[in-house]
Subunit: 337 residues, 2 copies
């Protein structure tokens, strides 16, 4: 493993950048609005601390890509903060939409301050993301900043489209594998593609290389999600931190489930009969495995992982940052090892 | 009254621009998401039609300002559409936050599709606004587009700050006049200031003139809101379209109410005793008038109106658009006549 000092430096400056962005919300008299956002970011309030902050993988992807593409990573800091703010905006609103009371072991914003203030706090986080991104005009150029805005706003549209599908799928009983990809493409992969795309853009990389980095981010996101789907049904509780088989009990329309439904076999029949309890989940997971869903999903994850790493090779990432970028991808993709 | 053909042309092109922006949400398989937005815009679904669309005052302000400041108003169309989309995004979310089942005589988005889809639809409208604004780079320049993004995003932050205060005030019993201005400054005036500011920017007007137009928009917004507060308590039902005294019964913390509370007189005592029914409202309105709240609020409206019209004079609006801009301001400010 290479020296992690570079990663540490990046994480410190990202956190500083994020704090300064969130501080913009807190004009005199508006301190409680800033405090709500700071709570969600994991800096303040009950349970604050590193575990409440998440891993900041998205900003790291921006900065490592910028450096690996030959840029000065400090210049990409506004973009790194912007993607993390977009990610957190979407978490605040997703928690409302999914009726989730907890995130990272703490009360969600809506649970603590009510739905009205949480909807508005998410909107504030959203606008701070885009406001902060405009600072790229100082660190790079007006054209680069505009191109970055285009990337991030298109990504946000994609996010809302993925979320629309996810919510709409709750009502549907006729879903197929083909329905899976636009949903996770929007919900997970689009923002990771924006991370690598913005990093390469800030580095001033030529279009072909930017494209390779974007493809890397997109496949990385898809591979990660498919891997997550596998763990959600067959992973062990120690590794994932959530109870095994929880995705089946939660009725989540993950890739193995959609594959299983298409087989129209015993799993399909069981699914049609109604909710699966936590106790029944291991037996249903076995059924799903016998019908080939595990093998199929693992193959999809392997294919996407190979495509991600191939795209990264084509982007020819350089130096220490290039190596750290590979390491980060491998760490994300091999969570079962 | 001058020829209204220019206004009509503007309104037709704005509507076309808005439809094309909203269409961006409707990729294959996502048509229902687009349809939700089109419903809210008043184009589709039950009760669709001009009455459901609102007056599009904000885009008109952008385009008239652009023309009056010597610009080619067609070049400002992306900004005109963007402010109307921001306005409508905020309505979708405000309706959730205020628990409002109806808007312009139709079911609100959350009432019709549920809170989760409505939060997400608002997010989609928000991102479409900013995505569409980027088209200014084609009709003007990269620098102008970036400056426009800065104006609109700062305005959105201001909107969420105003909304935070409005929601927070529901819990407070110690409010004063001074609490009123930051709330309506964010909720009403900021977006109107953005309209005139963006119009002047797109025209390439010098900074001093841009500033005069922004001030005009801001004071216009404040004057309009104070006027609305007056009508909400003492207006007649025929003119406002809502039942008179409804603001008192709704417990709305409008300027006359905050003035009245500060007097610590009989109105204050009555307010502390709890909700005011529709039947009690006329008597309480009389009490409020006796304590000077009507006179005070009318004076504030007059002062703000004079400041708005003075700022407009200083901006030296030109030609037919200049006259139409004055007419629009007068129409907005003299709704009681």
């Amino acid at each position: 493993m290479p020296d992690a000092t570079l990663t540490q430096s990046m994480l410190i400056l990202v956190e500083d950048e994020l704090r300064r962005a969130v501080a913009l919300a807190g004009d005199p008299g508006l301190e409680p609005l800033r405090a709500m956002l700071a709570y969600h970011m994991g800096w303040e309030g009950e349970g604050a601390g590193p575990a409440a902050q998440g891993k900041r993988i998205r900003p790291l992807l921006v900065l490592l890509t910028c450096a690996a593409a030959g840029g000065v990573w400090e210049q990409a800091l506004p973009a790194a903060a912007a993607v993390e703010l977009v990610h957190n905006f979407s978490l605040i609103h997703d928690d409302i939409e999914d009726n989730s009371p907890l995130r990272r072991g703490r009360q969600t914003v809506w649970k603590r301050w009510g739905i009205p203030q949480a909807v508005n706090a998410g909107d504030a986080m959203f606008t701070l993301a885009h406001l902060w991104l405009l600072r790229l005009a100082q660190s790079t150029s007006a054209e680069t900043a505009l191109a970055a805005c285009q990337i991030l706003q298109s990504t946000c549209l994609h996010l809302t489209q993925g979320q629309y599908l996810d919510l709409a799928y709750e009502q549907r009983r006729d879903l197929q594998q083909a329905d899976y990809w636009p949903m996770v493409g929007g919900k997970t992969a689009a923002l990771l593609a924006a991370c690598t795309g913005l990093g390469a853009l800030a580095a001033g990389a030529p279009e072909a290389r930017c494209q390779a980095y974007r493809l890397f981010g997109e496949r990385l996101g898809l591979a990660f999600q498919v891997q997550d789907d596998l763990l959600g049904i067959w992973g062990s509780a120690e590794m994932t931190g959530k109870s095994a088989e929880s995705d089946l009990a939660a009725g989540k329309k993950s890739l193995p489930v959609l594959f299983g439904l298409e087989q129209k076999g015993r799993f399909f029949q069981r699914w049609q009969q109604g909710p699966i309890s936590l106790e029944q989940a291991p037996a249903v997971a076995n059924l799903l495995e016998q019908e080939g869903a595990h093998r199929f999903t693992q193959a999809a994850a392997d294919r996407l992982t190979a495509e991600a790493l191939q795209a990264l090779d084509e982007a020819q990432p350089r130096g220490e940052a290039g190596q750290l970028l590979r390491d980060l991808a491998n760490r994300l993709l091999q969570r079962q090892s």
